[in-house]
């Protein structure tokens, strides 16, 4: 059952060939069987899942089913879920049960998608390997010695191993696309403002964006249809009609102009990865597209800019975790300062503390202009690069990450090297553009993704390209042997 596409599952559910309870139970069984090794789930919610599956079956029986009704989903543990622990993989929120649903959770509940559980991640989404989780690292299903990427590493792993047919992720600097690349799945970060941030624990508000993580581009299109849309509870939500993201899936790619930025194929890029990405681009050309060289000259400014701005916003966003109203509270605080100091020192992990301190420093009097304002200028320069590039092409293609998944522990002591693993994804977040990662082959038996970036609100086009590419390739259909 876990090898079916979403469309196939949906057809079987609607035809009554399978029930949502059966489908959901199938995934719950697989979670019991495999997750002990993978550590991809922080919380599994079997009772909730079955209860929701029953409701979905009733809906289907009444002929009120939608395309995704009855298809289970796993939520990244950053989406608040009413009555279920939402930990952000942090000790700080280990005891936090949200009394409300994130907008995305509400949307998928409305459709009737049973919740299998909450997936592991880097603590507060700060990381590129899912190693900074309070609950221990998630393993890459393709190689248990490898990281699944991050921060949505748990989500990518559950899709790769068939422990959920669909998963939600969030992408602040690459957190959907990089784990999608590392785990050989499909993931899209939509245009900033497409999906409401309401109920998503904030990391860096001006970058955070939720998106689907699935096996195929087609599946992502269906799921994005359910996730996206204007939400008045998020002031940065784009007030525009929600497009049908699946509408262009079958369009021909004839005449498509692919921009290939020279800067994305330079020093630091793994030669195997480069080969796979160039092969993938050649494959798309065979479908009638042509390539043009474009330039993103300020690419190298993106990572430094991001690592000032995102921590700056994080330092403020995470101030609410003070041990007063919810979350971790130290034992026997002496006084207010002691309560703050110890609750936060004991509740946050090292990477979170590092970013809070970096961010607070960048905003402090005397350094604000040199860091925060300068970084904002760089952000605009990076964005302008894309605007210019899109004058001569429809989409930009390149690698998602400079290498395939690295080993667990390999970069955890070298922050700069870890940060640089996002050098191709971060510029897209700085500009707020949509970006898609689709599987494009294997380097040393570890998956590698192709990165497709488009102008604002071009998700349907990106998914069209991804889907057409997946009609002539089968990388996205492959699964690690032990999970088949």
């Amino acid at each position: 059952m876990h090898n079916l596409t979403i469309k196939q599952m949906s057809e079987k559910l609607h035809a009554g060939e399978i029930t949502s309870v059966q489908l959901t139970q199938h995934y719950l069984n697989r979670i019991s069987q495999f997750d002990a090794d993978l550590n991809a789930y922080v919380t599994v919610t079997p009772e909730l899942a079955i209860e929701m599956a029953k409701a979905a079956d009733e809906k289907l029986a009444a002929g009120e089913g939608e395309l995704l009704t009855g298809i289970p989903v796993a939520h990244k543990d950053i989406f608040c879920t009413d009555g279920v622990k939402t930990s952000c993989s942090s000790k700080m929120l280990d005891n936090f049960i949200a009394p409300y649903d994130a907008h995305v959770v509400t949307q998928l509940k409305k459709v009737g998608m049973p919740i299998l559980g909450k997936t592991n991640m880097d603590e507060f989404a700060m990381g590129s390997s899912s190693e900074s989780s309070y609950y221990g690292p998630t393993k890459n299903p393709w190689d248990l010695n490898a990281v699944p990427g991050g921060s949505s590493g748990g989500a990518a792993a559950v899709i790769a191993a068939g422990l959920a047919p669909m998963a939600t992720g969030t992408d602040t600097g690459g957190s959907i696309r990089q784990p999608a690349s590392f785990c050989g799945i499909t993931g899209i970060k939509p245009t900033y403002g497409s999906v409401s941030r309401f109920g998503i624990v904030a990391y860096a508000s001006s970058f955070d964006q939720a998106g689907p993580m699935t096996r195929s581009a087609e599946d992502s299109a269906w799921m994005l249809n359910a996730m996206a849309g204007f939400d008045e509870r998020d002031s940065t939500s784009a007030d525009r009609p929600t497009p049908d993201y699946a509408a262009e899936l079958e369009n021909s790619l004839k005449g498509l102009k692919i921009g290939v930025p020279a800067e994305y194929f330079g020093e630091g890029l793994d030669t195997e990865v480069e080969k796979l990405v160039r092969n993938a681009i050649a494959e798309v050309e065979k479908l009638g597209a042509e390539t043009v060289e474009v330039h993103l000259p300020n690419k190298d400014l993106a990572v430094p800019s991001y690592y000032v701005l995102a921590p700056a916003e994080a330092s403020s966003n995470l101030s609410r975790f003070d041990g007063v109203r919810f979350g971790y509270r130290c034992e026997n605080p002496k006084d207010l300062q002691d309560l703050y100091r110890r609750s936060r020192s004991e509740g946050f992990g090292p990477e979170v503390k590092r970013r809070i301190m970096v961010g607070a420093y960048a905003l402090s009097a005397g350094f604000y202009d040199a860091y925060y304002l300068k970084a904002q200028k760089l952000r605009r320069m990076v964005r302008d690069d894309f605007t210019k590039a899109f004058e001569s092409c429809d989409v930009i293609m390149g690698p998602v990450a400079p290498s395939p998944a690295f080993n667990i522990g390999e970069k955890s002591d070298d922050q700069v090297s870890m940060y640089l693993s996002d050098l191709y994804t971060i510029p897209v977040n700085l500009a707020g553009l949509p970006g898609l990662s689709v599987p494009a082959g294997f380097a040393n038996n570890r998956p590698v993704g192709l990165h497709i970036v488009g102008p604002y609100f071009s998700e349907a086009k990106l998914l069209n390209i991804g889907h057409q590419f997946q009609q002539v390739t089968d990388w996205h259909k492959q699964m690690p042997e032990q999970y088949q």
């Binding site: 109920g199 998020d234 002031s235 607070a360 905003l363």
Partner: protein, 476 residues
């Protein structure tokens, strides 16, 4: 050489919205702790602010009233500091791009006019309240107030005496209430005045200032500033130095004392709030507010003088609040503007005294504008005299009915019948032959005595003008 005083005020005016600035919680005063705090106000994870658009027009109207620049691009910033009654760990406020820019407000002290600069007015959310002592050894946090919309109005350091500072504060207090953007309730903290006070020798750079906070009456603001000026002067003259700090006013002892020192200045790490988009204000937005702006106090005062012929003093009193002014205009309109001065006299004397006695606001008075007008009409058409009117008014105040009902029930109608008055006059003159003799002998002041006697005999109901006329005829 004398000292020069420099005062600037920061006024926090709570805007009269129904709900908070970034959430749908009510801001009604006096609810049980934490019953008006939703997930957004509590700073729960994943919660996001949505601007209450009602605050924008209210701010624009103040900007227009102060002849200020309106910020065409108004940006919200985060002011970061941690305190238990600040749930998010930052206050959403405006730093670089406030909604109202430089403006002015004219004040008058001892007949002298002075223009005070208003540096800016910016929108921000209020914090919650920390209640110490309700639970022994613990601090209770009440977040009902967290997120209440405030407009912080910052003056230039243009005031040079406690009297000027209070005149400015009062004028601003009157203005925000006229505009209907703040209820002005100082006891409930809807209008809070913080005073920055310093002294210097003329020509010297500004002295170190102290801030006086949380004083909830104009009288105490004046006293506190006066005390603080003297304290600073004495301190400097005795060789000391003023420390920049916040001081609390102790009204029982009429002194100020140190609350906290600002020597360790906080670094608030301001930056633009990424959860809120800049507010873009167009020319059309401003024009729309202009159209619905009420008449402002200064304009109203001038009109009362020119249109109704009131004295400056009466115009001042009758425009001291929008409610009083509206009441007065209703009375004038209901009496067909026949005698606006009479209306003004009654409003500033009998009516004002009654309000004062019972401690009532104008709109809570048992005598409505229509009722007062009903009585004044009877004075104007000579049905009753001014003196009888006092009796009628008192009866109306005590709930005995309208003026006409009371006049009828009590038989207070003025005697204007010439025959009846003549009979009374004849009777009085007949009973006082010696006084008549004296009058005829040149003691003209006896006339007052005769009038009094006739009025008394009529039970106060004879028309005094007619009585006078009749007496003069009879005694000539």
């Amino acid at each position: 050489m004398s000292w020069e005083v420099v005062i600037g005020l920061e006024i926090h005016a709570q805007l009269t919205t129904k709900t908070k600035i970034f959430s749908g919680s009510s801001i009604a005063y006096g609810a049980a702790p934490n019953t008006q705090a939703c997930n957004i106000d509590l700073g729960m994870p994943g919660m996001l602010p949505v601007l209450n658009e009602g605050v924008i027009n209210k701010s624009i109207s103040l900007g227009l009233a102060l002849n200020a620049e309106i910020g065409r691009k108004s940006v919200f910033d985060r002011k970061n500091y941690m305190y238990p009654d600040l749930p998010k760990g930052y206050q959403t406020t405006q730093l670089e791009f406030p909604i109202v820019g430089q403006g002015t407000l004219e004040i008058e002290v001892d007949g002298k006019k002075k223009t005070i600069g208003v540096t800016r007015a910016h929108l921000e959310e209020d914090a919650g309240k920390s209640n110490h002592g309700i639970v022994p050894g613990m601090t209770g946090i009440d977040l009902n107030r967290a997120g209440t919309p405030l407009l912080e109005i910052v003056s230039d350091p243009d005031m040079s005496s406690a009297q000027e500072a209070v005149a400015y504060a009062k004028k601003m207090h009157e203005l925000v209430q006229y505009l209907g953007i703040c209820d002005g309730n100082m006891q409930e903290g809807s209008f809070r005045v913080d005073s920055n006070v310093s002294v210097r020798k003329p020509g010297d750079p500004l002295g170190t200032r102290t801030e006086l906070k949380n004083i909830n009456s104009f009288k105490f603001i004046e006293k506190a500033i006066e005390f603080e000026i003297e304290r600073q002067i004495e301190l400097i003259e005795s060789g000391g130095e003023v420390v920049q700090e916040t001081r609390l006013y102790d009204s029982e002892n009429d002194t100020t004392r140190s609350m906290r020192s600002k020597e360790e200045a906080n670094d608030y790490r301001y930056f633009p709030c990424p959860d809120l988009l800049p507010v873009i204000i167009t020319e059309e937005d401003i024009e729309a507010v202009k159209k619905i702006m009420p008449e402002l106090p200064d304009a109203k005062r001038a009109r009362f003088v020119s249109e109704f012929g009131l004295s400056d003093y009466d115009a001042e009193v009758l425009t001291s609040s929008r409610e009083i002014a509206e009441f007065f205009e209703s009375v004038v309109a209901a009496t067909d503007a026949k005698d606006a001065k009479l209306c003004a006299n009654w409003m500033t004397s009998g009516f004002a005294a009654a309000l004062n006695k019972d401690g009532l606001a104008v709109n809570d008075a048992p005598v409505t504008a229509d009722m007062l007008a009903g009585m004044l009409k009877r004075i104007m058409d000579d049905t009753i005299s001014g003196k009888i009117a006092k009796q009628v008014f008192e009866a109306m105040w005590n709930g005995e009915g309208t003026a006409d009902e009371i006049i009828e029930a009590k038989g207070l109608k003025q005697i204007t019948d010439t025959g009846a008055i003549e009979a009374l006059v004849d009777e009085v003159l007949a009973n006082n032959p010696s006084q008549v003799e004296a009058y005829k002998g040149g003691q003209e002041k006896m006339m007052g005595y005769f009038v009094g006697q006739v009025m008394k005999a009529s039970g106060g109901q004879a028309n005094p003008g007619q009585v006078n006329k009749m007496l003069k005829e009879k005694l000539s």
